[in-house]
Point group: C2
Chain length 254, copies 2
Amino acid sequence: MRIAVFNQKGGVGKTTTTLNLAAGLALRYHPIRLIDLDPQAHLSAIHGSPPSDWRQSIYAHYPEGTPLGDLEVDWEGLGRLIPSHSELMKVDSAFGKGPEVLEKLNRGLRELDRTLPRRATLIDCCPYLGVLSLNAIFAADGLIVPVSSDYLSMRGAEQVERTLKSLERVLLRRVERRYLLTRFDRRRRMSFDVEARMRERFGRDVCETTIAENVAVAESPAMNRDIFAHDAKSRGAEDYAALIEELAATRFLR
Amino acid sequence: MRIAVFNQKGGVGKTTTTLNLAAGLALRYHPIRLIDLDPQAHLSAIHGSPPSDWRQSIYAHYPEGTPLGDLEVDWEGLGRLIPSHSELMKVDSAFGKGPEVLEKLNRGLRELDRTLPRRATLIDCCPYLGVLSLNAIFAADGLIVPVSSDYLSMRGAEQVERTLKSLERVLLRRVERRYLLTRFDRRRRMSFDVEARMRERFGRDVCETTIAENVAVAESPAMNRDIFAHDAKSRGAEDYAALIEELAATRFLR
Ligand SMILES: Nc1ncnc2c1ncn2[C@@H]1O[C@H](COP(=O)(O)OP(=O)(O)OP(=O)(O)O)[C@@H](O)[C@H]1O
Ligand SMILES: Nc1ncnc2c1ncn2[C@@H]1O[C@H](COP(=O)(O)OP(=O)(O)OP(=O)(O)O)[C@@H](O)[C@H]1O
Ligand SMILES: [Mg+2]
Ligand SMILES: [Mg+2]
């Protein structure tokens, strides 16, 4: 199963959700395959040092066709990561928008699925709807769309929905998605207001689970840890665990 | 004076800072010229409805060379806005990175400065270092780099610094910048930790003023208002007013 964590709005918790969703899934099921598809490489930085050589990053798959299996590094407790590198910026510009480049990650993952046991794959996207994010969406069986519980982010969700609807007309299939309310601050009326509007607008596509604003979640990257390793008793760990239960129970996870 | 509000990290408060810096400057000095250079058009949405026709947006300046003066709309209390449109995405792909496209906004503003009284210009950037943001940086006399007071954002600041240093080698001039700590939550040790590290790393390039995490700041967009119009007594209004004092006193504003 391949999940792309996407939202073109910035700072809504894509990287945070990729990290913690992977960690929770690994604790419960099996090691996860992570792909950092953001040239800013924040997920890779949480793992440890991102590679200084682009040939050891996901970028190598694009000009050179390096098999994805050759690019994976171990991530203790989570599974494996294909790290990013700033060179990945070039995919958006150099490779244009010819249709085959949009399928490159999909083909690479199909190859990987043949040679390695099928693992759940999580793809962290950058806040930009370009060739990279389209690669992720085309390769994915489902999308998680984090939406921070504020008004500017809610507007971003509307833009995502429009984008996905037009992609569906091109792909001729439904793009499975779940909107996930993040950074939910129960002291703020705004959080509840945004939640009510999101549920009214997107119905069952909005996760029941919301991820609370929780300082432990923001601190864990500095320790190079996911929320479960950093503070398993925290509200953030509870919420990401509940999210996994819900995604399993509602058959989003397959 | 032209100020680009830039950080390729998402959700750090670029749009919020562009809005409130402009409002505060307008209250204190004179009407401001705002340019929304983000295809997601959040600043334009706060103003009111972004144009449905790209010919009435900043995008029209790129393929058609429409004079910037023709594209301005009134923003009561702030000055004027050149709104964005999703079509602006095409600038990053269609126009490649040939050197003249990087100077397009600069040339357009020079033209505007000849015909209209010189106004301070604030440019809201998208979370992506592409042709659009480079247009803003090349056109600007100075940059404000909002950095939210968390670890992932601090890493983003480091990337901005590297980018600016390599641009300086190309532009053969210093790119004046101020790092602005935003979303500062005094209840969190992390905020103080990030501040200490930022000041240690960037010294006087970090604003003394920090913008507090303040729900009024997050609510004002939903009312189509800046923080001063929304809640002039709020901590957010105080902080943005203090920022303007500081920028004036330290000669960043000219
Ligand atoms: N539930 C939460 N509680 C507290 N802080 C959070 C939470 N979720 C995310 N954050 C913090 O919010 C900031 C933005 O999150 P993150 O970087 O994961 O978003 P993003 O969508 O990946 O951003 P970008 O668009 O730049 O890739 C980070 O500093 C992160 O630590
Ligand atoms: N001082 C603050 N207090 C509370 N909320 C804030 C503050 N500053 C910004 N926010 C909120 O944080 C969110 C992100 O801010 P904003 O959209 O301005 O960032 P951005 O850098 O422009 O994002 P993007 O990278 O997507 O363009 C918004 O919902 C905004 O209302
Ligand atoms: Mg991210
Ligand atoms: Mg913005």
